[in-house]
């Protein structure tokens, strides 16, 4: 087992910067998720750690050893690939035993470890099959088995669930979380799916355009996004943003004017926001925090807003409203009993206790 550190790590392809000055410390035994849109540098970061990609600048440490010039095979890591990358000409048993055999592990030990690992993953009946005879879910388990049978210090997973169908993916999610609890090894997991990131990661590193946007626990990312990108990326449906908002004070009240409507800022935040009075800000609020006026949850700081109903999506346990005001569309997630119809003008209630303000220039949260 080992900790992992990225220290001022850069990756450049000619003039293109794929990873921009990455600094992360991953303590031993943590489940860290790299998440971000495609091309954000998350896979490249993982592959640099794996030794499959040169590090252009900076250092990567596994434990307290700088591994920049260490071959992949000597880094004491294992990886599950998106395509699973099973050896097609070998049986499941041989796939799992391959790494151990290369390390000249005694035959008996190999046999013991392979069978034990296979049993723990529920694939012991597949040991004699070849990869092409397996289903997607089975292949995925074999790929995991091949990685953990070597008992690596760090376990890397590169989008391991994206080739599974939706139902299997949910199962595999809990399977991998449980595996992490059982092994207690450092897991580093790459995904573009924020739901996977939120459900599995102990901490999540959100990357965009090669830069680390924020790294924090799932709850903190959701509740306190550090910038517009993270606020929009985490959570589904994503946060509503009102870009051309202004903040001003009027008769002891602090008001956000979005250009479409005005809402009042709660007293507790006045001090925090005072330096930004009169400046351009981005006002953000999650659809989850907009209720219909008929079903207002208790304990919120309400701010009523009127809008036209464009679309109503009935989800059964909730309704998603596409609201429109002055040409601006925003979403609300309301109680399914709310009586709303398309074309109607309706009143929704913003919960101002959980609204977000960002600097319009820097896109950083005002905190």
């Amino acid at each position: 087992m080992a900790s992992v550190s990225y220290r001022n790590v850069w990756k450049r392809w000619g003039d293109v910067v794929a990873v921009h000055d990455l600094n992360i410390d991953i303590p031993d035994g943590e489940f860290l998720v790299f998440v971000g849109p495609s091309g954000c540098g998350k896979s490249t970061s993982l592959r640099m750690l794996a030794g499959l990609e040169e590090i252009s600048d900076g250092e990567i440490l596994i434990g307290d050893r700088v591994v920049n010039n260490v071959a992949p095979k000597d880094r004491d890591i294992a990886m599950v690939f998106q395509s699973y990358a099973l050896y097609p000409h070998m049986t499941v048993y041989d796939n799992m035993a391959f790494g151990l055999r290369l390390r000249r592990t005694p035959k008996q030990v190999i046999d013991e470890r392979v069978r034990e690992t296979a049993a723990s993953l529920g694939i012991e009946q597949l040991l004699d099959r070849r990869p092409r005879q397996l289903s997607g879910g089975q292949r995925q388990r074999v790929a995991v088995g091949r990685a953990i049978v070597r008992e690596p210090a760090v376990f890397l997973l590169d989008e391991p669930l994206s080739n599974l169908d939706a139902k299997l993916r949910v199962e595999a999610r809990t399977f991998i979380s449980k595996l992490h609890q059982r092994l207690g090894t450092t897991f580093i997991y790459v995904t573009h799916d924020q739901v996977e990131a939120m459900t599995m990661g102990q901490r999540i590193a959100v990357l965009n355009a090669g830069k680390l946007m924020q790294i924090d626990t799932p709850t903190n990312l959701y509740d306190h996004p550090g910038n517009v990108f993270v606020a929009g990326f985490i959570g589904s449906p994503s946060m509503n943003f009102f870009d051309n908002s202004t903040l001003f004070e009027e008769g002891g009240k602090m008001i956000v004017d979005t250009g479409y409507f005005r809402v009042e800022v709660q007293k507790e935040r006045h001090e925090l926001y005072r330096p930004h009075l009169g400046k351009k800000v981005v006002f953000g609020i999650r659809p989850d925090n907009i209720a219909h006026s008929q079903f207002v949850p208790p304990g919120i700081i309400p701010a009523p807003v009127e809008a036209n109903v464009d679309v109503v999506e009935e989800m059964g346990h909730e309704k998603i409203l596409y609201l429109e005001e002055g040409g601006k569309t925003f979403l609300a997630r309301v109680d399914p009993r709310s009586d709303v119809r398309v074309g109607q003008r309706t009143q929704v209630i913003f919960n101002m206790a959980v609204m977000h303000l960002f600097d319009a220039e820097t896109e950083q949260a005002l905190q």
Partner: protein, 370 residues
């Protein structure tokens, strides 16, 4: 010509021709017209006096459109048959000509060759398997068979190995890959006779003391050796010939194997590297087993070519000094006034030897398509 094809094409579906008598007339008339036209063109083509350009034009159009007309016509005729009978006959209309051609130009000659192989030198007396006995007992023939064995083992082995090595190496040289491949593939585009000329100069030898203009001997004498007559020295001469064929087919092996290697997923190779494999282990334990079917197909294809090897030997040594191979021996027996019987027996022997590899290749091809 094209005005002739026009009505046939329109009438062949036969659906607008619903009236009985007209239909009857057409079904008689169209074939008759087509027959008359083809007959006229045949006569014209034989005519020595006719305009050359016209003859060439007619020959071309008949070559292209004549076949087309024949197919349309027979198809049209099956349309006239009762539906169930027509349904049964139709496949034969299309497969039939091919079968006939195959029979005339392939099966019949094979049968006839076999028949000749049981006859004596001038095909007048039946002598049973005596020709075959000669092949397997005659001293000269045994050398020929031994040489073929030598070729069969060395050329596929050398060319597939070199092809594999080169394919792996060019895979890593980046943007020069296609250029390098083109150069290595080039010998494949040269005819065996051309290759013979190239290698004649490689192996060329002059008497000791003279200036050596052969590439190899020039080098040998430069570094102080004495010139070697590569093509006349036993057993070096066989190797010298085998190298030529290897030089020719390595490019082919490389191209096919390279395509196979490109199909090996990079993630699988990366997985192996992370599993602890060094580059040699990645090569022998991952790449080679994965592309094994390709290697076998390439190997058997080369094997078939080797079995038929003729021109290289014919051009370079013509079988002198223990370099004879079966195909050249066959040619000598058949066309150089040797023995038709013996030549035919050699041909049959070659056919029998090639067949299993062809079958295996076809099977492999089918398996991969499935």
């Amino acid at each position: 010509m094209s005005t002739q094809t026009q009505p046939v094409r329109q009438k062949s579906p036969g659906d607008w021709l619903t009236s009985g008598p007209l239909r009857f007339l057409v079904s008689i008339g169209v074939p008759v017209i087509a027959f008359l036209f083809l007959r006229w063109s045949f006569v014209l083509l034989r005519d020595q006096e006719a305009n050359r350009i016209l003859v060439a034009f007619i020959a071309l159009t008949i070559g292209v459109f004549g076949v087309w007309i024949l197919y349309l016509l027979t198809y049209y005729l099956t349309e006239q048959l009762p539906e169930r009978l027509g349904e049964r006959v139709r496949p034969f209309v299309f497969v039939g000509p091919a079968m006939v051609i195959l029979f005339i130009f392939l099966l019949y000659p094979i049968g006839h060759t076999f028949y000749l192989s049981l006859m004596n030198a001038d095909s007048e007396e039946f002598i049973g398997l005596k020709n075959y006995r000669t092949i397997f007992t005659d001293e000269q023939m045994l050398i020929t068979l031994r040489n073929n064995g030598l070729w069969l083992i060395s050329v596929p082995l050398f060319s597939v190995s070199f092809g594999l090595i080169v394919a792996v190496l060019v895979d890593r040289i980046g943007r020069w890959e296609s250029t390098a491949k083109a150069f290595i593939f080039l010998p494949m585009a040269i005819s065996a006779v051309g290759a013979g000329v190239v290698w004649k100069f490689m192996y060329f030898v002059r008497a000791e003391g003279e200036i050596q203009i052969g590439f190899l001997n020039a080098i040998i004498t430069k570094i102080g050796g004495s010139p070697t007559n590569f093509l006349e020295t036993i057993p070096l001469n066989n190797l010298a010939l085998i190298i030529i064929m290897t030089w020719m087919v390595t490019g082919y092996c490389m191209v096919v194997i390279s395509a196979g290697i490109k199909n090996v997923s990079t993630e699988v190779l990366e997985a192996a590297r992370m599993d602890g494999a060094n580059e040699l282990q990645v090569f022998f334990r991952i790449i080679v087993p994965i592309i094994r079917p390709t290697l076998i197909t390439v190997g058997t294809t080369v094997l078939i070519w080797v079995l038929k090897v003729f021109d290289i030997v014919y051009v370079m040594t013509n079988g002198r000094r223990d370099t004879q191979v079966v195909a050249n021996q066959m040619y000598t027996e058949l066309f150089r006034g040797g023995s038709v019987g013996l030549g035919s027996a050699l041909a049959i022997l070659l056919l029998v030897a090639v067949s299993p590899f062809i079958v295996s290749n076809v099977r492999e091809l089918r398996r991969r398509r499935a």
